[in-house]
């Protein structure tokens, strides 16, 4: 029974790590595309879009992690167990 919960928790952690990694990758690819010496405006726009998305993802990751950690902290403090 508890295995399902711990499996989802583990999955969430892996997804979080993957999201951070993807943020870095996307941000890098985005800037690479923007800075690439290829005069194609669609390519540059795609690069800008990737940078913007990655920044949003980082914001949500940071915000979400902070808020959920805070909630977990409060629950621990109130209930006494995670």
């Amino acid at each position: 029974m508890t295995d399902v919960v711990s499996f989802i928790q583990q999955l969430t952690q892996e997804v979080t790590l993957a999201a951070w990694a993807l943020f870095l990758l996307t941000w890098t690819i985005g800037w690479t595309l923007r800075g690439a010496p290829i005069p194609l405006s669609r390519l540059k726009r795609a690069g800008s879009g990737l940078v913007e998305d990655s920044i949003w993802a980082a914001l949500w990751l940071a915000l979400g992690s902070t808020v959920f950690t805070f909630i977990t902290y409060v629950v621990k403090a109130v209930v006494g167990s995670p």
Binding site: V4, T12, V15, F23, L25, T26, W56, W60, L61
Partner: protein, 462 residues
């Protein structure tokens, strides 16, 4: 066994997973708009799931509060529901009892034509009420569990169980408020049918028989009151009382044919007779009306009243095995060998000239019964008695204050079966509940649609 806390934890973890998957999709280096749109959707869904998870207990408490504000409670609903089921079962049994009689009476086809559809309607109504009872059991006792399962489904990533989850939560909320408020709503529109039929009375059935009552010597026990008792809720209860004519036949003024008296048709019936203020049981004790066909004569005899020549003269004893009575042209001759506690008694109205001669002098007294007075002569055992009774100048008596208790109308409740009752019953327990439940289903659909975002899982009709 799945605990509430486990389901709650699962729902919260799934909401978290949805959130991080949403962020992951945001962070994907693939500039495809259709894919990226899932990022925002998953974030929004996870927020809503969180909000629902945090406020679910409050929502459940709030539904109780709303139901109370609307004048409802589970106790009120239970009372309404069980009254309805009891009433319908009683009516159904009464209808079945009546339909068993229709084959014996004139106009049977017409009666069957009414009773058939009534019976079908009662069956349908019972099904509806039992369905409501089942929904109540689900919502009242497993409501939080259903809502939490709905929450878990609601929080699944990629909206896998979102619509079903929304429906589960909406069902619990709508029906827990709606069912509790249903009796208050119905009472504001129509009145509850007032019916005097109880299941215990209905389960006794209804039959019409001729009854002949006689003394131990075979003479009719006329000018007496016949009492019938039956077992109601494991307790003997008087269900009928009829006058017995001078020829020994029971008489029911409220019966369509007075010589046919109504009585239970199922189970044993215990007969008693009262004459000159003396009450004795009647053999067979008990008798079973189920063994007799419609209007067949049932003969009941008192083993203790030994001699009843008419005009309310009786000779009775509590030890019939020790007393022997022989009829003579002027009265009777009797021989008794009573043991301790035994008694032989002669009762006659004041209008009679009675002379008793024997080897023992009798004790004397008087009696009063239904407006008539009389004398009594008794011998108390142990004794060895030979006595003769001579009777002269006896005249028929007039009785006052006779009370009847017609089984069919006063106990079985036949007079309650009127068109008004059927009308009230259909309005109160069939049409309104059905419409109300249909409305609640639509409310559930609307609430599920509100929670689920798009449409509920109800199929579109048009």
């Amino acid at each position: 066994m799945i605990s509430y806390s486990y389901l709650f934890q699962l729902a919260v973890k799934l909401a978290l997973l949805s959130f991080y998957i949403g962020v992951l999709i945001y962070a994907l280096p693939i500039p495809v708009r259709g894919l990226k749109r899932w990022g925002g959707t998953l974030l929004r869904d996870s927020f809503l799931s969180f909000a629902l998870a945090i406020s679910l207990t409050a929502i459940m408490e709030f539904t109780q509060g709303i139901a109370g504000m609307m004048g409802g409670s589970w106790q009120y609903f239970d009372s309404w529901l069980f009254n309805g089921i009891e009433l319908l079962l009683s009516l159904k049994m009464a209808a079945l009892s009546l339909s068993s009689l229709t084959s014996y009476v004139p106009g049977a086809t017409a009666a069957r034509a009414i009773l058939g559809p009534l019976n079908d309607a009662l069956t349908a109504d019972l099904l509806l009420l039992f369905t409501l009872a089942a929904i109540e059991a689900m919502v009242r006792y497993a409501g939080l569990l259903i809502a939490l399962i709905g929450l878990v489904m609601f929080a699944m990533p990629f909206r896998l169980g979102r619509e079903a989850g929304a429906w589960f939560i909406a069902f619990v909320v709508a029906f827990s408020v709606g069912l509790q408020a249903m009796p208050a709503f119905e009472s504001s529109i129509t009145s509850a049918p007032s019916v005097g039929i109880s299941p215990s009375a209905a389960s006794l059935g209804l039959g019409y028989q001729r009854v002949y009552v006689k003394a131990a010597d075979g003479s009719p026990l006329g000018d007496s009151l016949l009492e019938l008792y039956a077992m109601v809720n494991s307790k003997a209860e008087k269900v009928a009382q009829y006058w017995v004519n001078a020829d020994g036949t029971a008489y029911d003024p409220e019966s369509p044919q007075p010589q046919l008296v109504s009585m239970p048709s199922e189970g044993p019936v215990y007969g008693y007779i009262i004459i000159d203020g003396v009450e004795t049981l009647l053999d067979p004790y008990p008798f079973s009306p189920a063994n007799y066909s419609f209007s067949q004569e049932i003969t009941l005899s008192s083993p203790y009243i030994l001699y009843a020549p008419g005009n309310d003269i009786i000779v009775f004893t509590n030890q019939p095995q020790y007393v022997h009575v022989v009829s003579t042209p002027r009265g009777a001759l009797f021989f008794a060998n009573l043991s301790y506690g035994g008694i032989v008694e002669v009762r006659a109205p004041d209008s009679c000239n009675v002379s008793i001669t024997g080897n023992i002098r009798p004790g004397m007294g008087s009696w009063t019964w239904l407006g008539n007075n009389g004398q009594e002569w008794y011998f108390v055992g142990p004794l060895n008695l030979t006595a003769s009774v001579a009777l002269e100048g006896c005249r028929p008596l007039n009785f006052t204050g006779i009370t009847y208790m017609d089984y069919a109308t006063q106990f079985f409740g036949l007079n309650y079966l009127s068109p008004n009752l059927v009308e009230e019953l259909i309005a109160y327990y069939l049409v309104l509940p059905f419409m109300y439940v249909a409305t609640l289903t639509m409310v559930t659909y609307a609430l599920a649609r509100l929670l689920g975002g798009r449409r509920g899982i109800m199929p579109r009709v048009a």
